[in-house]
């Protein structure tokens, strides 16, 4: 897993060389012009392909709006795999569906900006959005078990996405070869070509979804808990398939999940969400070795260990009503280090190092003393 630590697949040995040339070949034919880097340096690997800015999503309820996603901002770099973690209901799936413009009523996007390769997704008309879907952003869904149409053959469900975006394919033989190639990418046998979803196992269905997700070589693929319904063995295989396909096709990937152990092995960066806010975004090795935000620390602490049984610390404190979030920091009701300042001011994202930001007052320069104390308590509880 050592090679995965490098967030830039450019330096990966073997197959990734052809990957990049493939992607570069494809870039010129993209319908949307590529955008330059965000001033962070414009090396190819640091090109931002997806930029989410102040995305806010509410669910309307009779008692008032539930704030599911609250002003989230982050960038996804080309070729990068970003993990999105947090406890159930923290808004990670809603964020994904917001990016994909698939928020189902009563949910709605309040404000924000979602740019994919320089295209503002929120400004697209309905027909533009339809054409943009799957070529710009594709989805590997949460419940692969039920995500395939039960009355359509596997091949027809892949063909329909190809034909709705590239027009009627007259060369049936070429189409067949193309689908076989997709099958091969994800390790599926050709014999499932003519099968119906109910004739496949769960892992196979998930791989069909992966094959389908990359069929049009989208800019960004979002995998929404793609492995959570599978057993650990199949989980690993599917996760590896995901990474392999991602590297071969050269897309950027957002993986949503709550299995920290699995994510650690496949992602480059992790974004931690709490109650609709993004509290920390950091390269994966930083998150595990040196988590900064108190919530991230608790989350990492919650990973079960074989060597010792430890109590779950994260249940301490209360969760707030999502309709009336507390003032200041969203996490202060459960935070072991909270003080008055946390209730008064909402912590802005603080730049720690390259690609690492944390939204916690402890890391502001003026509170350095407090940080030292906090870290000391953490070391000797």
């Amino acid at each position: 897993m050592a090679e995965r630590k490098n967030p830039h697949p450019k330096s990966l040995p073997g197959g990734s060389v052809s990957t990049r040339s493939h992607k570069e070949g494809g870039t010129s034919t993209l319908p949307f012009p590529p955008r330059g880097g965000k001033g962070l340096g414009d090396g190819g690997a640091d090109r931002v392909v997806l930029s989410v800015d102040k995305l806010r999503i509410h669910y309307a309820t009779p008692q008032g709006d539930v704030i599911a996603v609250s002003d989230i901002s982050f960038d996804l770099y080309e070729g990068e795999t970003l993990g999105l973690v947090g406890e159930s209901g923290c808004g990670k799936s809603t964020t994904a569906y917001g990016i994909l413009q698939l928020v189902q009523p009563p949910g709605y996007i309040v404000n924000g900006s979602i740019e994919v390769d320089g295209t503002e997704v929120l400004n697209l008309t309905e027909e533009e959005l339809r054409k943009f879907r799957w070529t710009g952003l594709s989805l590997i869904p949460q419940g692969a078990m039920n995500s395939l149409n039960p009355t359509m053959r596997v091949k027809d469900q892949i063909i329909d996405v190809i034909e709705s975006h590239e027009g009627k394919q007259n060369d049936k033989e070429a189409l067949r070869k193309r689908i076989f190639e997709l099958f091969q990418n994800v390790g599926l046998p050709n014999r499932i070509y003519n099968m119906y979803p109910h004739e496949l196992s769960g892992g196979m269905k998930q791989r069909v979804c992966i094959a389908m997700g990359v069929a049009l070589h989208p800019t960004v693929v979002i995998a929404d808990e793609a492995t959570s319904a599978l057993d650990v063995v199949v989980q690993r295989i599917v996760a590896q398939t995901l990474v392999k396909v991602k590297d071969e096709i050269g897309v950027s990937l957002i993986v949503i999940g709550h299995d920290m152990g699995l994510l650690a092995q496949i992602v480059d960066r992790i974004a931690v969400m709490y109650a609709g806010k993004m509290v920390e975004i950091a390269p994966v090795e930083n998150v595990y070795a040196n988590p900064l935000h108190p919530y991230t620390q608790l989350l990492i602490d919650s990973i079960p260990s074989i060597k010792e049984r430890k109590p779950l610390k994260i249940t301490e404190g209360i969760t707030h009503d999502p309709r009336n979030p507390p003032s200041g920091c969203i996490f202060r009701l459960r935070c072991p280090f909270a003080w008055e300042h946390c209730a008064e001011v909402e912590p802005p994202p603080i730049y720690v190092e390259d690609k690492h930001e944390v939204a916690c007052h402890l890391y502001a320069e003026q509170f350095e003393e407090r940080r030292t104390d906090a870290l000391a308590t953490l070391a000797n509880p």
Binding site: R130, K131, S138, G143, P150, T151, S164, Y196
Partner: protein
């Protein structure tokens, strides 16, 4: 393709013949549980008509012999089953020398035609309306219109046919009020005759369609709403498929399956429901025949028509069962 297995076919056929056997047996038993027998009923009819029947006992004895009613029950039963298998349903008592099979043979095509066409129309229209009610992109005007037209559902079909006859047969004489084809026409395979049949069948068919389609529309709407929440609908949307394609290939295609089952179950009821409509329009189908059988206490006719209706329903269920694997690929493999 869900090609049904031999096993599936065999099981379906078995259920079909079992249904018919049970039906035939019941039809044999039930009249025999009642006091008296058909001959007594016939003599009673005659005496009602003529006041007195000479040598009634002798006549009864002779006829009982002729119909084999003095044989032991099991002999009667096997003869009955044998006759039924040859579709010999015995004599009609009210139209005596006429055989029930002849009467049914004359009436059945009309009912199959009427109910068949009406079913095809209300099933299509009903499901389409239901689908459009649930679809997000349906024009608002249509979404208001459909529920209004569905208020007819609460009107009984016979009453509704009265209304239709009054409006379109009497006030605005666009359609004929009675009959299955033009007066003085001879049933033959010509375009003219066929046109006349359609012309005459329009109002009866409409009175069935208008009161029935709302039921199917509501069922379909419910199924569509369920389908809308399925995971594959979100994926279909994410895939950027064309909306109309999603409507028919993802939504209707899956929502229609339970509707097909419901149709198979309701076919028997449909024929019964058309009885009063047929009488309203003096349409000479099975409905009229059953009605006359009951009105005249014509045992043979009631037995024969009931049996044929059961066979028709069982046949319809069999046909739908056999086509089901073609529309739902999950059925054949599970063998259910």
């Amino acid at each position: 393709m869900g090609v049904f297995s031999f096993n599936y076919l065999l099981r379906r056929l078995l259920v079909f013949f079992l249904t018919i056997w049970v039906a035939a047996t019941l039809i044999f038993i039930i009249p025999r549980l009642a006091p008296g027998d058909p001959i007594g009923a016939m003599i009673a009819r005659m005496s009602r008509q003529e006041g007195f029947v000479e040598n009634a006992d002798l006549i009864i004895e002779a006829w009982r012999k002729r119909f084999g009613l003095d044989d032991p029950l099991y002999v009667q039963y096997f003869r009955f089953i044998g006759n039924t298998l040859r579709l010999d349903l015995g004599y009609s008592l009210a139209n005596f020398p006429a055989k029930v099979s002849e009467l049914v043979g004359r009436a059945l095509p009309w009912t199959i035609g009427l109910v068949g066409i009406a079913t095809a129309i209300f099933f299509t229209v009903g499901n389409l309306c239901g689908a459009l009610l649930a679809w997000r992109r349906t024009p608002r005007l249509l979404k208001i219109m459909i529920p209004i037209s569905m208020t007819f559902t609460s009107v009984p079909p016979a009453l509704f046919s009265l209304l239709l006859v009054y409006i379109f047969g009497f006030l605005l004489p666009i359609f004929p009020q009675v009959g299955a084809y033009g007066r003085g026409m001879v049933p033959e395979f010509t375009l003219e005759f066929f046109g006349s049949v359609l012309y005459h069948g329009f109002l009866p068919a409409m009175s069935i369609v208008l009161v029935t389609f709302g039921f199917w529309a509501l069922g379909m709407r419910g199924m569509m709403v369920t389908i809308e929440g399925e995971d594959y609908m979100i994926l279909a949307q994410a895939k950027g498929l064309k909306p109309f394609y999603v409507l028919y290939r993802y939504m209707i295609r899956n929502a229609i399956l339970p509707q097909m089952t419901a149709l198979a179950v309701s076919i028997g009821t449909l024929v019964n429901g058309s009885v009063l409509v047929e009488i309203m329009f003096t349409y000479n189908g099975m409905g009229s025949l059953i009605y006359s059988g009951i009105a005249n206490q014509d045992f043979g006719l009631i037995q024969g028509t009931s049996f044929i209706l059961i066979v028709t329903s069982a046949l319809a269920v069999l046909i739908i069962d056999l086509t089901y694997p073609l529309i739902d690929p999950r059925i054949s493999l599970e063998g259910r």
